[in-house]
């Protein structure tokens, strides 16, 4: 009896032990598998990010190189000089009188066959909603109303554009025509842009918003042409309204395939709810950057006839976007970041319209005195302006950017942001060279007995000339330009201090002390910025004083990252919502996860995987009466 039971027990015990060991084995192995996956994810992420930033850096470097060449090119004759001048003046933003020419969109005919949205101004909320709806439906259906899968890549590398139309006839590839049916007609695009510009011109550089009027304010980050994400945000959070304010923090365009549609939607709501809907400029709201990162291509492809006109108008509209938004005088929202030199009062006063592109800047001199000092500084000191990468590096230049200048104290510190300036102001140098060449030419002519030739008026003034203002009014000063670049390009870093952002080629890396100083100086609570893709769609840093918010999910590839937006509630406490719009049909899973870095702030994180919005989603916006179901 006894031995029987004990044998049974013995077996039972052995079995239990075996089960235990088996379980441990499986768990061990599984955990290792997951760890390897995670490691791979991290590494892939770094690779993607490096490629992205290296690409930006490349563009900047190339740009600097060619700028330098152009600036130091000594023209041999009139024609060459004119050519140079044309290159320079090409960039000037149109005068107001020139802008009137853009009204000729009114002469553009819209054919009857056009079945897209027709806009009339002033825009009404219904128009804006209809616009969103039209774009959403367009994603799901093709010209035959059949399911359409579009493979588009609007980057500099490729623009393959095919539509696979599945129907009774079987699948066939059909090149989508540039039909008016497909998208918002160019006339309405231009009209909308024109109206948008009119509105933007009235706004200050730093837009001030108060939460007294609307109950909540939602801040979204980079969208980069990913219309799915914008539509999802409106679906999940609700359409903009007087009670639901929005701030979109730049980088609406480039990379994704629907930059045009995103802009149309954003501008439409901005016109419909001017007090509640706000846009900040990002570093991609820039025609030079667009050339490389796909937006220009997208426009030219979607609008073959009127694309150029649209781009020209866009260039101007971008310059008029506000640089930052300030909520209740407490939360500062801007695209990139700040630097140790950021001066909000200065930024508020400058003429933002003059900063056409952060890539290239012809700057005028502030005044003669400062120019002299700069000249002195550049000759003797080692700090201030490093020479460009393609010039032989002088060893007197500091490797550490934080050495204070021997000259003006406030120019102390980091090496300059993009683009690098040569020790002598290139414009001054080229003028001087040109002028001395002219003098020499003249002298030779006189010697040879030729009559004096009346020189054409130099469009660009010489350094010593009396009035830099007349011409200079068009161009920003170096300081103005640098302040704006810092706002649009900088990234936070963990270390203290402030140094040049060499990876991007523009702006700087700013440390927690820089943030702290800025917040204290202007009595702010915290900073919201975007500009960097984060795996979770958001990230706090600098003791939660800086929040990065990024709204383009699956940015690098499907599954690479979530998007997020932040709602500012009472007392401006941030409340993050994440999402991920999946193109593939993944099953819905709901998960809640502890995040160890978030303990101090109220948050509510819902991670939702949504089936493709293109085909299967039937939803009604929350602010209408119908119920919603997935």
């Amino acid at each position: 009896m006894g031995s029987g039971t004990s044998t049974q027990h013995h077996f039972a015990f052995q079995n239990a032990e075996k089960a235990f060991k088996a379980a441990v084995l499986i768990q061990r192995w599984y955990r290792r598998y997951m760890a390897r996956l995670e490691m791979r994810r991290h590494c892939t992420w770094s690779i993607f990010q490096s490629i992205e930033y290296a690409g930006q850096q490349d563009q900047v470097k190339l740009h600097n190189f060619f700028s330098y060449l152009v600036d130091h090119f000594t023209p041999n004759n009139h024609n060459e000089r004119d050519f140079l001048n044309r290159m320079f003046t090409e960039e000037r933003s149109p005068q107001d009188s020139e802008m009137e020419n853009c009204r000729d969109y009114e002469s553009i005919e819209v054919p009857d066959s056009y079945t897209g949205p027709r806009l009339s101004f002033p825009l009404l909320p219904d128009h804006a909603t209809a616009l969103v709806e039209a774009f959403r439906v367009k994603q799901a259906e093709g010209t035959n109303g059949k399911a359409l899968r579009q493979d588009l890549a609007w980057t500099a590398r490729g623009t393959s554009r095919k539509a696979i139309v599945a129907g009774e006839e079987g699948t066939r590839e059909q090149l989508l025509e540039d039909g008016d049916r497909e998208r918002l007609h160019a006339r309405y695009v231009l009209n909308l842009l024109y109206e948008a510009r009119k509105h933007l011109v009235q706004l200050p550089n730093i837009n001030r918003v108060s939460t007294c009027y609307s109950e909540e304010i939602t801040v979204c980050g980079d969208l980069h042409g990913q219309l799915d994400d914008l539509i999802f945000i409106f679906y999940k959070n609700g359409l903009p309204s007087p009670e639901r304010a929005y701030v979109f923090n730049g980088d609406f365009v480039d990379r994704g395939k629907d930059s045009v549609e995103i802009l149309m939607v954003l501008f439409a709501f901005m016109l419909v709810y001017p007090k509640e809907f706000h846009l900040n400029r990002g570093n991609h709201e820039d025609h030079m950057v667009n050339l490389r990162y796909g937006f220009t291509k997208e426009v030219m492809h979607k609008y073959k006839t009127h694309g150029k006109k649209i781009l020209k108008l866009l260039q101007d509209v971008f310059c008029w976007l506000p640089l930052a938004t300030l909520v209740d005088e407490k939360v500062l929202i801007l695209h990139g970041g700040v630097s140790d030199m950021t001066d909000l009062e200065f930024l508020a006063k400058l003429d933002r319209h003059k900063i056409v592109s952060t890539m290239r800047c012809k700057t005028r001199k502030e005044d003669k005195k400062q120019a002299e000092e700069k000249g002195k500084a550049n000759q003797t000191s080692s700090a201030g302006t490093p020479s460009p990468w393609f010039l032989p590096q002088s060893h007197s230049l500091p490797t550490s950017p934080l050495r204070p200048s021997t000259q003006k104290a406030h120019r102390a510190g980091r090496s300059s942001s993009v683009p690098c300036r040569v020790p002598l102001d290139p414009k001054e140098l080229s003028h001087w060279v040109r002028h001395s060449v002219d003098l020499e030419l003249e002298r030779c002519r006189q010697q040879a007995g030729f009559p004096e030739i009346k020189e054409k008026e130099e469009p660009l003034p010489l350094a010593s000339e009396a009035d830099p203002e007349a011409e200079g009014r068009r161009e920003p000063t170096q300081e103005e330009w640098r302040q704006v670049v810092d706002i649009l390009w900088s990234d936070p870093m963990a270390q203290e201090g402030c140094k040049a952002n060499t990876i991007r080629g523009g702006g700087c890396y700013f440390g927690p002390n820089v943030t702290e100083r800025l917040l204290q100086k202007y009595n702010l609570q915290f900073l919201i910025r975007s500009h960097e893709c984060k795996p979770e769609g958001y990230e706090f840093c600098h003791s939660r004083k800086v929040l990065t918010i990024f709204s383009a999910s699956n940015y690098y590839e499907v599954g690479s990252n979530r998007g997020a937006y932040v709602k500012l509630g009472p007392a401006l406490s941030p409340h993050i919502v994440q999402f991920q719009a999946n193109k593939a049909t993944h099953t819905l899973t709901m998960r809640q996860r502890q995040d160890f870095s978030m303990s101090d702030f109220q948050k509510d994180r819902i991670i939702v995987f949504v089936e493709t919005l293109k085909c299967k989603c039937h939803y009604i916006y929350p602010n209408s009466k119908s119920e919603f179901k997935i």
């Binding site: 075996k18 235990f20 060991k21 088996a22 768990q27 061990r28 598998y33 760890a35 390897r36 991290h42």
Partner: protein, 164 residues
């Protein structure tokens, strides 16, 4: 002579290990100050090819941690310990057929599969139990939705291919 060759071989191996360890460590060194959060150590160690159990992992963490736990692991402490682990080939990964036999222990009837409930029971009730999140993650990939079960032979094969 043989000793010298051995030593040289070991030195080369050590140098390689050092590089691997450093690379893996840097992925999680977010502040670029040669420290990582202790919660990431498991991932780092496993990505270096080791397959410790949770208990073994805790022992390792104790070895590389500070006197007063700070929540961070410093590289200077991590490197020598980890190098030793790699040299000694500790915590080797499990061969595929051993894994298969482990599943079979849990499936004595040798049906070739475990039901979802059985899997949950074993993984969260036995051994070094999974957290809720780990369980959900495994289920989402392993469970065949039609039969609501895991065909473990196929599952193992799929995971192994994924790894490589």
């Amino acid at each position: 002579m043989a000793d010298d060759r051995d030593r040289e071989g070991t030195e080369i191996a050590v140098a390689e290990f050092h590089k691997k360890i450093k690379d893996a460590f840097e992925v999680f060194d977010h502040e670029s100050n040669n420290t990582v959060d202790v919660r990431e150590i498991g991932t780092i160690i496993r990505s270096l090819g080791c397959c410790p159990s949770e208990g073994e992992l805790h022992d390792l963490i104790a070895e590389v941690g500070e006197e007063e736990p700070t929540g961070y692991i410093r590289f200077e402490k991590f490197l020598p310990v980890m190098t030793e682990v790699l040299l000694e080939r500790r915590y080797r990964p499990i061969p595929e057929d051993t894994l298969h036999r482990a599943f079979e222990v849990l499936d004595p009837a040798k049906r070739g599969f475990l039901s979802k409930e059985e899997l949950i029971k074993y993984m969260t009730g036995e051994g070094e139990p999974f957290s809720q999140e780990e369980m959900e993650e495994m289920l989402s990939a392993a469970i065949d939705p039609e039969s609501n079960s895991i065909h473990y032979k196929d599952y193992i094969t799929m995971m192994v291919i994924d790894e490589n």
